[in-house]
Symmetry: C2
């Protein structure tokens, strides 16, 4: 449980990350705020929905760590965190490692048992890929 604490939080963070990315409006906000720093109202003008709705989308992105808000006077400037997509990518890498793991194990089989393979497909066959 104690050890799980950190892992659980990491997984919850991954949940929030992908969840935040799973919406077209939010992905578009990310694109816009990657190019420029935009205030929330400026952003809101771009979408066919209320200011409050856009504000909520920004909040979701912020909780996911994809975006950072910086106050300037009465407006709040939004910019996407360049490091954030790296985290997303790392999450994918971690998933991919699972079946890279499978490949490794297959290599292990081939490496550790250089002879006596009766059940794997014959080398005589023109091998697939």
């Amino acid at each position: 449980m104690v050890v799980d604490g950190v892992a659980e939080e990491a997984e919850a963070g991954t949940d929030r990350l992908f969840q935040a990315l799973a919406d077209l409006t939010r992905r578009d906000i990310l694109r816009r705020c990657a190019r420029d720093e935009l205030s929330v109202s400026r952003l809101a003008e771009a979408y066919p929905m209320s200011f409050a709705a856009v504000q909520k989308h920004v909040a979701v992105l912020e909780r996911a760590g994809l975006v950072v808000k910086e106050r300037r006077g009465r407006e709040q400037l939004v910019r996407t965190d360049p490091e954030a997509l790296d985290r997303a990518r790392r999450a994918l890498d971690e998933l991919e490692a699972a079946w890279r793991g499978r490949v490794e194990r297959m290599s292990d089989l081939l490496a550790e048992a250089p002879e006596a393979e009766s059940e794997t497909r014959q080398p005589t066959e023109g091998q697939s890929r």
Copy 2:
């Protein structure tokens, strides 16, 4: 509209992709089914929830194209599609391109206008922040 048709579907697909990844149980299913092909009931044994719940998770993964089901006798074997994570990665790349674009444009500014920039904000003015 006609042109949008394909883009819309692509974006909807991206929604489903990230949505499917935004759940710990589903990510775990992906890991397990990357290593081995597992039947749905076999999978269900691994989680503290009903068979039907796991079945729904698999359905979400399938709709997102992250997983493929193959019938063998009375059981349905699930395996993750190796190509799927590539699609997720490509979606991230497309997002990242947005601020790679920003960097390019900044380089462009520096490269194309080595002098005579009158309309960008003056370094001399203590600007209004």
